[in-house]
Every structure is written in C-alpha cells, then in structure tokens.
Symmetry: C2
Subunit: 344 residues, 2 copies
DNA sequence: TGTTTTTACGAAAACGTTTGAGTAAATAAA
DNA sequence: TTTATTTACTCAAACGTTTTCGTAAAAACA
C-alpha cells in the first residue's frame, strides 16, 4: 500500500490551478449551462487528476439536500423486506442517492424514535413499512409538515394520510388463497391472521371472507385467529384447532412463518398434509419451498415492488424540485400470485 | 394533522430570543464546560420549546465528521449478516451514529464502487464483509490513507492489512464439524467448500483437515469441492459424489444453503439421512432447523459478533479523536459452536 | 459601423455550525 | 488593597459549496 497522503482538495484548489473561479468549477460539477465546452473539459480533467470529490456536507448545507433517503422497516431479516430493500438500494444508487436503513423491530416506540432521527438527519425522503401495531401515524407528521416526502409500503395507513402509498394486493392474495383451498375441496377452512389493526391483514381477511361467502361457506369465529404472527402463537392456534373434532381440512396462514409452524404441528400429530389438511401461506419465504411437503403460498414480487417504490419516489422528488406543489398522493397496488406447491 | 409549519430554526434564532451569542448555544449543545448552569438550562428549555434540531451538515462541514458509518456486506438477506447488521445498527444508534448499509451482491466491481461511494460520502468509518472473490483489498486503501478506519469482519483480508479484523473461529468450526462426523462413525467424509481464495473457507478447510488427519482419515481430492456455495453447485457436487460407489457416509457443507441442497438431493435418490449419510452445515440459517430431518450446523453467534464490532469501532473512533496515532490493529476471533440436530 | 443580445465567467454573500482569541466580571491569592 | 486566576460569555473567522448579480467579451443584428 502506497502511503501517498491523498490530501483533500476543495473547489478552490481546482480553481486556483486552472486560473478560474470556484463558481465555474461548481457550475461544471452541476452541469450548469453557460460554461464553455473547453473549460468544462479542462476542469473535468483536473478534477479527475487531483482525485477531487465534492464535499456533500458543504453542498448539502447550501442546498438543503442530503441525497440520502431514510427507510424504516420492521426487520431486514424478513425475506420480502430484504428483497425490496435490495432493489430499492440498487435503484437509488443508480440515481446517486444513499439509503439509511432503520429497523423498528415492530416496536411503535422505536418507529417513532426513528422518524425523529431521520428528520434530524435531514433525509430528503422517507420510505416506511410500519409496525404491525402502528394505527396512529402522527409521528410522521413532522416529516410531512416539513415537506419531506413519505412513501408507505406494505403496512400502510388505513385512513387517509398525505403520503404516497404502495401496497401489495392483499385483498386478492387473501381471495386467491381461500379460493384455492375451496377449489381443492376444503370445506372447514381456518384462517390464522395478524392483528386486524394492520392494513395488510384487514385486506387479506376481506379477500378470504369474499371467497368464503362466494362459495357459501361459513366463517366460524372459533376457526379464525388474530394475533402477531410468530411460531409460538401459531402453535397455540393449532392446539385449539385440533383440541377436538371436527378438525379443519384447510388452513390459510397469513404469513409463511405461521404456515411452517402449522405444518410442523400437523406432522407431529400425524395429520397428513395435503391429504387430511391443506395449507396455504403468504409471502413465498425461501423456507416455504424447502420444507416437506413444500408450501403453497402467495408470491408478492418484492423486486417489482422495490422498483415501483423508487420510481414513485423519483417522481415526487423531481416535482418537489420544481416547487410545483401539486399535492397528489398516488396510491398504487402491486400484483400478487398464487404459487402452488405440495401442501395443497 | 395540524398544519403548523414547523419552520427550521438555527442556533442564531435560539441565541436571539435568549439574548445570547450563537457560540454559547453551540457550547451547550456540545456539553462544553465554561457555560453557566443556569444559562445551560435556559438554553435547553428553549431548544426543546422551539423544536430545534442541529443541522448535521453544518456541523459536519465544520468538524469534518458525519456521524455516519458505512457498511458493506455481500447480501443483507444472508441470515448471519442480517443478524449482525441488526445488532450493529442498534448499538450504533445508541451512540448517535447512523448506518449506511451497502450490498456488494458478491461482486468485486460493486464492492469497489461502494468503497468509492462511501469515501465520497465522508463516512466516519467503514465496516466491511468482503465478497467471496476479493483477494486484492487495495480499493480500501483510499479509506486507510485518509484516516477513515476500516473494520473487516467475516470475510477478511488473508494477508496483513492495516485495519481491524474480526472473524469467526472458522478453523474451529471446520474442526468441530469434521470431528463430529468422525465421532459418529463416518469414514468417507466429503467436504463442499467455498473457493479457497476467501479467508473463511481457508480456515474451515484447515480445521476440517486437522480433524481428518488427527483421526488418520484420508482426504480424497475427488470428495472435496471448491466453488461458490449455491444450490446449483451443491447439486452438481452431489451428482459427482453419488455417480458411483462407494458413496460418502458424511458430508460437511461449508454453508447451510449447500447443506440443505445436499439433503434434498439425498432424499431424491433415497439415501437415508442420518442413517446412510450424515450432514453438517454452517451458519445456523433458520431454514436448517425446519427442514426434515433438521440440520446439524455450526452456530456463529451473530449478535455477539455485532456487539464486538461496534465495541471495537467505538474504541477506534475515540482514539482517532484523541489523535493518538497508535497504529494498532486488533485482530479478534469470535466463538463458534456445534448445534447437533437430526441430520447426524 | 454601432447597437443589442447572448455567452462565459468572476465576486461575494449566503448556508448553520464550531472554535480560537479576546474580554469583562467574579473570585481567589498575595 | 492590588494582582492573578478563573468563569462565562462574545466576536468573528472558518468549513466548502451554491447562486445571485454584475460585467466583460463575443456574437448577432441593423
């Protein structure tokens, strides 16, 4: 490693060696017109030669832009989110934006703190997938009030909120899952849902309900569960469902972690899947394809969602730039699809 | 939502209403001594009341600190990394640092670009888990030369590099896995390794080798594979291993994705696991516990690793602050452990 | 040719903080 | 009492950009 001390250069240093003013260098860097082609290339060459990098804090101070986007997400280890984040990041990187990823760990308190932190960091925009328990979205007000655009995705505000909203077609997902089970002959279908505070579970439940009603199947309240979707809760639900006959012949679990635990429980009590019991999960977690039998689930196309998010964000930031305060907040629904596997 | 336009305040605004100079406000904010207790509390109260947030760009411009740490990682969806990142982030947040997470997607080209980007963003330090194929670490030179501390973890430079290095005890991991198989009676043990360019695979292989030699077992070159560890390559390896007898009776896979594919292949060709074939994976991916039979694997304690990383980083940043140029680069090895499950 | 318009640049004032130097007032030491 | 020290503050100069305004020179036009 050569120990050449790469000293930091400023716009003034470039200007001095080229007998120009700092203003001209700045104009070159920002692709301003009204700078002669020959000086532009001289400047570019010198910038390259001296290894100059603009100081984002200085320009940020002046322009009030950080070129940084904040992202709040429950947990990056959740597969769908990991995929979405990856896409968002790659896309944003292409546009010259940095991404600060924050995890709320499904805690509302943490989510509140993170919005404050992001506000304090002066990010140019915030992308958020809220916690399961976020029903009051007022901690995002401070961003909206200060004209920091907010994009919600996945878990989004239920009531109107002045922000762009991008959500999966959870209604259709719920419908597809239930219709699939019904089509395969299931008549006693149980549904393990997340808490109905959260947009996605409200919609999935509505879709489920529609399919059931359409086929004139009863929705038995003791076959429907609402709770945070983790393995322990899934197990408790299963214990209740299989406490006495008649057993359900189909279970729709509103996420894959739950579906996997359902399967695991069914195996333990020697209920045959898919023979005696058919199971549908949600999200196409990588685990769902390797388990035996492999799990039928709803695909959410996370990469597509990520792209849509960035596309909308760029539109918003451009419009923000033009100071056209057309306060329109697009609401976009992204597609879902059923992946049929061995559990049905 | 109240539409109260929270106008941005500066240190000057606070100073004016309190009949003080901006310098005093600044000193309060930075806990400088030589400011009277009574004025300190007056200032704090006013800051709170006016909802003032310091502008990080202005202070960053002045102090040349961003309070932001850059992180380069192959993929956040890899479980171990997701866990480590989560811990790092939570710890850093407590210290008032932001984290910019970048994914190299195991591409050296991308990794190079990301180091440049992070350098240009003026992060205070960089934490990096390199790609599988990074053998030349010179793209990190620009950081080191400019006194931006670098901490490598997981996949670390093989040859000396002026940076802090934190790695799992891969030698021990390899040894534990092989010794476990041997202890259970395996005599024809195959090993599916990642490319031997990468520190972790070098060490795991060495550990594997030591256990084999210790028990006077032969290392057959046609039972050892070196390639990027993904499902397709694992399948190819298995096809070769089970092309003709004698079949291996134990397989050590250097990551869990490979181990899972090995298991899946074994099932397909009706080789009984663990009866005919025992399998050990690496990393304790969540999938390894839900597959049937569940997978024996090596635990890396990612949360502990994350904590160690942040602890070391804080030490370095503090020492950096004191301008004590004691150029010591600690090298820390974190523990691993065997998790025995049904595949052995 | 002279006049107007356009082009290519420079000067200088911001942006909001930190910090060294300077200075009154208060306190301690002689 | 005078002198030295400490305390609590102010002043003003940075940090590295961007951007408005101004102005020569060049180009276009009459």
């Amino acid at each position: 490693m050569k120990k050449k001390q790469t000293q930091k250069h400023s716009i003034h240093d470039i200007a001095k060696v080229l007998q120009l003013s700092p203003a001209t260098i700045s104009r070159v860097l920002n692709n301003h017109p009204h700078v002669h082609q020959s000086t532009r290339s001289r400047v570019m060459a010198m910038i390259d030669h001296m290894g100059y990098k603009p100081n984002p804090m200085a320009s940020g101070l002046r322009t009030n832009k950080t070129n940084t986007i904040g992202l709040i997400v429950p947990r990056i280890s959740m597969f769908v989110h990991a995929e979405i984040i990856t896409t968002i990041q790659n896309e944003l990187h292409a546009f010259g934006y940095n991404l600060i990823i924050c995890q709320s760990n499904d805690s509302v308190k943490m989510e509140k703190e993170l919005t404050r932190t992001l506000y304090a960091s002066r990010v140019d925009a915030v992308i958020a997938a809220c916690t399961l328990f976020t029903t009051d979205f007022s901690h995002f007000d401070i961003l909206v009030q200060n004209n920091i655009p907010v994009i919600f995705y996945d878990r989004v505000p239920v009531r109107p909120y002045p922000a762009c909203i991008i959500k999966g077609d959870d209604f259709r997902g719920g419908y597809l899952a239930a219709a699939h089970l019904i089509e395969l002959g299931c008549r006693r279908i149980a549904y393990i849902s997340g808490p109905l505070l959260c947009s996605i579970y409200i919609d999935r439940y509505a879709g489920f309900k529609k399919a059931m009603l359409q086929h004139e199947l009863p929705i038995l309240t003791n076959q429907i569960f609402y709770h945070e979707l983790n393995a322990e809760n899934a197990r408790k639900a299963m214990e209740k469902l299989f406490a006495k006959k008649p057993y359900p012949d189909g279970i729709f679990a509103a996420n894959d972690v739950t579906a996997l635990e359902v399967l695991s429980f069914a195996k333990e009590i020697n209920v045959q899947v898919p023979g005696d019991l058919k199971i549908v999960g949600y999200s196409n977690d990588p685990r769902s394809s390797i388990v035996t039998p492999s799990m039928t689930t709803i695909e959410q196309f996370p990469m597509h969602t990520g792209k849509v998010i960035v596309t909308e964000l760029m539109k918003i930031l451009k419009r923000e730039l033009n100071k056209k305060d057309s306060i329109e907040f697009p609401q976009i629904t992204t597609a879902v699809g059923l992946i049929r596997r061995m559990s049905t």
